[in-house]
Symmetry: C2
Subunit: 353 residues, 2 copies
């Protein structure tokens, strides 16, 4: 293997501009103490030579690596990829994260970490030692793992935690789950529904409670009951059970909100089996808005989880922190939107008035 060297280095730029290495370095890093005339001469030289600093050398010199590490759950991510059900969490992360990184000359490195392993710690430390990123983005279920967050905090690394509402350590960035559930509920109220059921997600996830809360609050504010609550665990099977529980209630719902797409799909299936037409007999709103909900019959009205925007915000926070700019102390809450498709409709005037 030929020893590959940089074609044009800071040294060439210095020579071309007739200044010292240090001055070039200052210009690159927007450092102080450079006369504008000199800075311009350097910039011209850089442009003329198409000079681009080596991030390896920058890191070695003790500066940044311009790398941000995004850590995702290994098993879950690979399972999603293998299943090919159209889950686009990773794509949306890249969309928001990579583009935001690129805006600032950073790069996003996507990495998988095995949560269940007893050496998560070692795994992450190894990645940090090898890559020496300037910041790290944690996604569920890593976001609230004290082993991981503690480790990052100890390393004095900037890091963002996605999908968590705990303010510290690191910077929390999350969707407004309560607000989103409230939004969905309010829309159903607008459509005339009063018996609105809610299928909750796994209580292990903090978002589940938030989503319940948004629904409950809105129902209470409208003077309606909150008895139509069923618990699932985000799986299709649990969604069926929960939907069954709701639909066999003494006074069944005319609308259901499911805490994720899989459970919404299960509800759709069960409702159809029970002879209920959607949206005529039952309105249905889903959470997450993965691509597959466009392909159901009817396509599902859904709360869109703004993953791209969340990730972009996480990146922005890290870069701001690196630059010594102020970053919010409280969790950043990104609002969600409701995408109306074919699974919601005005409540039918029925026997119950």
């Amino acid at each position: 293997m030929a020893r590959r060297r940089q074609a044009v280095t800071i040294r060439h730029v210095a020579a071309e501009a007739g200044v010292s290495l240090q001055t070039v370095s200052r210009v690159i890093n927007n450092g102080p103490n450079v006369r504008e005339a000199v800075a311009n001469r350097v910039k011209e030289a850089i442009a003329r030579l198409d000079y681009v600093p080596s991030i390896a050398a920058q890191r070695m010199g003790g500066s940044r690596s311009y790398l941000i590490l995004a850590l995702n759950d290994r098993d879950r991510t690979i399972a999603d990829w293998r299943q090919r059900q159209g889950t686009d969490w990773v794509d949306q992360m890249l969309l928001g994260g990579m583009l935001k990184c690129a805006e600032h000359g950073y790069r996003l490195i996507f990495e998988l970490v095995d949560t269940h392993s007893d050496h998560v710690e070692r795994e992450i430390l190894a990645a940090l030692a090898a890559l020496q990123p300037d910041g790290v983005i944690l996604t569920p279920p890593h976001s609230d793992n004290p082993l991981i967050t503690g480790l990052l905090a100890a390393q004095d690394l900037k890091f963002a935690r996605i999908g968590s509402l705990e303010a510290r350590p690191g910077m929390a960035v999350s969707m407004d789950d309560a607000g989103a559930a409230a939004l969905a509920t309010a829309r159903l109220l607008e459509l005339g529904h009063e018996r609105i059921g809610f299928i909750a997600g796994s209580p292990d996830y903090s978002i589940s409670a938030s989503r319940i809360e948004g629904w409950r609050r809105t129902m209470v504010e409208a003077g309606l009951g909150t008895d139509l609550l069923a618990e699932g665990d985000f799986s299709f099977a649990s969604g069926r059970r929960a939907a069954d529980q709701l639909l066999t209630a003494a006074s069944p719902p005319t609308a259901i909100i499911a805490s994720n797409d899989q459970m919404a799909l299960a509800t759709l299936e069960l409702a159809r089996e029970r002879g209920l037409k959607i949206p005529e007999d039952l309105s249905l709103i889903s959470f997450d808005n993965t691509p597959l909900v466009c392909f159901t019959l009817p396509p599902l009205t859904a709360i869109d989880q703004p993953i791209a925007e969340i990730t972009a915000t996480a990146v922005q926070h890290i870069i701001d922190a690196m630059a010594g700019r102020a970053v919010p102390d409280a969790p950043s809450i990104i609002p969600a939107t409701l995408i109306e498709r074919g699974s919601t409709a005005l409540r039918k005037a029925g026997p119950k008035g």
Copy 2:
């Protein structure tokens, strides 16, 4: 910003093992000239200290960067991400590429490049200068761009070109498009079809010709006519036009193969509008097998494009080349498989016997 240094360096390992830096370096790189006893002492020290080499420093020392750069088309990739139609090309690339990289201590860095820009060259050179990857993976439409391939060849970089059949420069890795089309055609023949139409893709892509060729060859071998060929450009609209052309033929097909999913979807839609039931009246096979074809009614039988395996092969070639191992001179052709779903059936015994 605190100057972040490596917690444990090669120096610590050397001290711990009581050897020189160079010996440690030799052990890390599986270099020759180290007694097994010494090597083991060093390895133990590495394990004890949880030492992981800094890739930045490795790069600076003139060795590898353990980075492989995957270059994708910027506009198209972002458009796919934004549309959220479930296209999982990127995911499958990561699945195959990242995991294979990880097996060998490499990392895959995913990067977008603007094909249409007049400064593609500058853009890529900048990425190379900044990251100094050991290898590059090109995807269509970059794979056959002489500007890009020339530039990589000039840099003496190992690189693989996905989806190309031209052997040089770099290493071509491609799906067996002709074989896949032949496979689909043969399966339809087995099902009793004789009038098998083919919707071709854009002639700008070399894969289009290969797919046509596989179909034509198989038809000819079966002693059947190849008049039912219509050209599209991979878009939904072109698929509709092509399907219309085939279905209004004097002697229309009982089965159609479309060169990609979008055109298959268009065919499905048009067929239904014309009162044709699928698969009873018309069998349909699609190419690519993106997630969305599972969600149509009926789900489509499709040729699965083995992107993960192709990417894994590309990575393997680069790593082999880096290690000085022999790499194939001819393009690596990865076989495709046919996923049978609900859009294919035995030909109905019809008036035409």
